[in-house]
């Protein structure tokens, strides 16, 4: 049995145009994969399909050998590029809502408290969503996602809109989640920043995986990561 997330032949079309074309992805527990590609390469569509918000036209998704159907959102959690939290819910109420929807067992509160502590959100516990910065909103959704016990986390363009300090904090948080055994996949356009965080890189172009390798393997092709990326996506 193959552990972790296994995606085979994922395909999604919109009005006859293929956005994701037979995508194969493997993601092991504790592994971090960066998905890079030009605009319109199919990164966000892939994430939406995996998280259960778009219905794929073809392909299979399995986790730990178990095929995932419509309920795959319980296993694969997505944090969107625009972390639009509820404006009129506090940080704590977001966590309570997730705990209720995912039927967390009694005692979830202590776990939530420790998550807030770890993400340096304790001071914002009772702050309403509309008063949170983008970084805070992102942290709130990360806390809610981790509280819901999803073993696979997808982050769509997580670094966009964050200041350097926020980016550093996010990298620390993601490293912590990886250490806890979460499988992480994030999309980005910041190649060097991604290289510092991921175990492998997946380069998408026109909905297809055109390269899948470790950062060192990509660098070995010669030139900077940017040169390699442009070279691969230009062909």
């Amino acid at each position: 049995m193959e552990r972790g997330l296994v995606v085979r032949g994922l395909t999604k079309r919109f009005d006859g145009k293929t956005a994701v074309d037979g995508l194969d992805v493997d993601l092991s527990p504790g592994e971090t994969v960066a998905v890079v590609g030009p605009n319109g390469a199919g990164k966000s569509t892939t994430f939406l399909c995996l998280a259960g918000l778009l219905r794929p036209d073809a392909g299979t998704i399995a986790f730990d050998g178990r095929p995932l159907g419509a309920e795959r959102g319980q296993t694969i959690a997505l944090i969107p590029e625009a972390p639009d939290v509820y404006p009129m819910l506090t940080v704590w109420e977001h966590l309570a809502f997730v705990a209720a929807l995912t039927r967390r067992p009694a005692g979830w509160e202590s776990r939530a408290e420790s998550l807030l502590e770890r993400l340096e959100l304790s001071g914002e516990r009772d702050t309403l969503g509309h008063a949170l910065s983008k970084g805070m909103r992102q942290k709130t959704l990360i806390a809610a996602t981790v509280l819901g016990d999803a073993p696979v986390l997808l982050l769509d363009e997580p670094m966009v809109g964050l200041d350097p300090l926020g980016q550093r904090e996010l990298r620390t948080i993601l490293a912590g989640l990886r250490a806890d055994g979460h499988a992480l996949m994030f999309s980005t356009h910041q190649l060097e920043s991604a290289a510092a965080l991921c175990d492998r890189m997946l380069i998408l172009d026109h909905g297809r995986v055109v390269a899948a390798a470790t950062v060192d393997e990509l660098r070995a092709r010669g030139g900077s990561l940017e040169d390699v990326f442009l070279d691969i996506t230009a062909t």
Partner: protein
């Protein structure tokens, strides 16, 4: 927490926090309190003095009941053919869709909850937009019990109609075809009821036996509560079948919500663009090749037309068909010797048109983010005028189609021309007032309630000078057309003054657009 409690938790807490915020700043309720007081006052004005028992009042009450029935049937038909698809938003945000996708609750429970919430949200939104209209159009002398019965019937019928919005939006293939056919049947039935009601006045045979909602209202005031149970049962059965059928429809519900969510996101970004959206007091400095206000108006018309492409050919054809039938109906009335009936019918139609137009409000905020608004060296007043009156082409089409129906049946070119000119003047005045109301009350939510009421009230006020001008000039020249043209000129003058007032109010006041 049980499944139902879990589903309601988010909305319950959001409501609680909103109430808490209002308690800390009660001024936020000031405008809405005034709106509620107005509704109560006019409601009381309508029912004070009790019910009047005379044949004329009975006929008006019966006509009003039938109008309501026609509107309910028409709304049911419009929803079934998918007219409300664009306002359907199962999820309030992308994140909410993600949270529900992760829920470990039974899918049928989630579907039922989203359906119930969708009905409640659209109903609340519709109520804020139309509550004043209901109070305004209820005939004077209506008994208090009848008023309560009218409101109860409208609410229950609205629940039944709105329970179809989400199922129709998700319907595909044969179900979609069946829904559209049923929708067409409901609209046809509504028209038959209307024609049946007008038949005696037109001197023709009614296509259907008289079917008056007033009878149902009377029965309801005497305790026949089953009348309310019928629409509620329709809503319950529709919702239950929907919840059972859709099961894992979160991807479809998400896709359905995306368009509306994107629109909301566009509006919310205005708060992040205060400097770009600043309105200069004077002229904007541009090159000499920049378009003037005339080209600007054409550009706005083009943009407006592009935006209205989304309405779709089927909806456009349906609207034109309805307007044609209404125009023909009015033409039939014009063939009768009863001039009072013609005037009453024309004024009723004009009022309905104004009420429907005021529901949407006029929002300039989005336009101000478009570079087009700032191109050219025209003054702010000219730019506002270009924007506000660019949508007149739609009014002109409605008027032209209605006039065509009228002309064919009435065979009276002079009356047709008078009606066209008067309608155009009314449309111009209504748009200018919409602009000035936006300048006074720019808040998005306010636009749906108090601002709509203010807009209607101002139209009724500003329509008086053109009306008097028409009467005086018509009397002096013994020419109805001269009177109508005089009214149009006065309306144009008022529109210029109102646009100037709006420009003065908006100039350099970007802060008022953040509401």
């Amino acid at each position: 927490m049980n499944a139902v409690g879990a589903l309601f938790y988010g909305d319950r807490r959001r409501l609680g926090n909103e109430l808490h915020r209002i308690r800390n700043d009660p001024r936020r309720l000031l405008l809405w309190s005034a709106y509620a007081l107005f509704l109560l006052f006019f409601g009381w004005m309508r029912v004070r003095g009790g019910h009047v028992h005379d044949p004329a009042s009975a006929a008006i009450e019966r006509g009003f009941g039938d109008l309501m029935l026609c509107l309910i049937l028409g709304a049911m038909g419009a929803v079934l053919i998918g007219a409300l698809r664009s306002v359907t938003g199962a999820f309030s945000s992308r994140t909410e869709a993600l949270l529900f996708a992760r829920a470990t609750l039974p899918p049928a429970w989630i579907a039922a909850y989203l359906q119930a919430r969708n009905v409640a949200v659209i109903l609340a939104r519709s109520l804020t937009r139309s509550a004043y209209a209901v109070v305004l159009i209820i005939p004077r002398g209506t008994a208090a019990a009848a008023l309560v019965a009218y409101v109860a019937v409208l609410l229950c019928a609205a629940v039944a109609v709105l329970s179809l919005v989400l199922p129709v939006a998700l319907a595909r293939g044969g179900w979609l075809v069946a829904a559209r056919v049923a929708g067409g049947c409901f609209i046809a039935l509504g028209l038959l009821v209307a024609v049946g009601d007008l038949a005696p006045a037109l001197g023709t045979a009614a296509p259907l036996p008289a079917w008056h909602l007033a009878g149902l209202i009377a029965a309801l005031t005497h305790g026949a509560l089953w009348i309310l149970l019928v629409p509620l049962a329709i809503a319950a059965v529709t919702s239950a079948l929907f919840a059972r059928a859709v099961r894992d429809a979160i991807p479809e519900l998400y896709t359905l919500s995306i368009e509306r969510l994107d629109g909301l996101a566009q509006r919310s970004t205005r708060r992040e663009l205060p400097l770009q959206a600043r309105i200069p007091r004077g002229r904007t400095a541009t090159s000499s090749t920049a378009p003037g206000w005339a080209q600007g108006t054409l550009a706005f018309v083009w943009l407006d037309a592009r935006a209205w492409r989304r309405v779709g050919a089927a909806n456009l054809a349906l609207t034109c068909g309805l307007v044609l039938v209404v125009g023909a109906g009015l033409g039939g009335v014009a063939r009768q010797p009863d001039a009072v009936l013609l005037m009453t019918s024309a004024i009723t139609l004009a009022m309905l048109w104004l009420l429907l137009g005021s529901f949407g409000g006029m929002r300039l905020t989005r336009e101000m983010r478009r570079p087009l608004f700032w191109l050219g060296d025209a003054s702010l007043t000219m730019r506002l005028a270009a924007w506000a009156f660019a949508g007149l082409w739609r009014d002109a089409i409605v008027l032209a189609v209605g006039a065509l129906g009228f002309a064919v049946v009435a065979s009276h070119p002079r009356q047709t021309l008078d009606g066209l000119v008067a309608g155009l003047g009314l449309a111009i005045l209504s748009r200018a007032i919409g602009l000035v109301v936006f300048a006074i009350l720019p808040g998005t939510i306010v636009q749906t309630g108090p601002a709509a009421l203010l807009r209607t009230a101002l139209v009724l006020l500003f329509i008086l000078p053109p009306l008097f001008a028409a009467l005086i000039v018509g009397f002096l020249t013994v020419s109805a057309l001269a009177g109508t043209v005089a009214a149009l000129l006065i309306a144009l003058g008022e529109a210029v003054l109102l646009t100037t007032l709006a420009a003065w109010r908006l100039a350099g006041r970007v802060d008022i657009l953040a509401g």
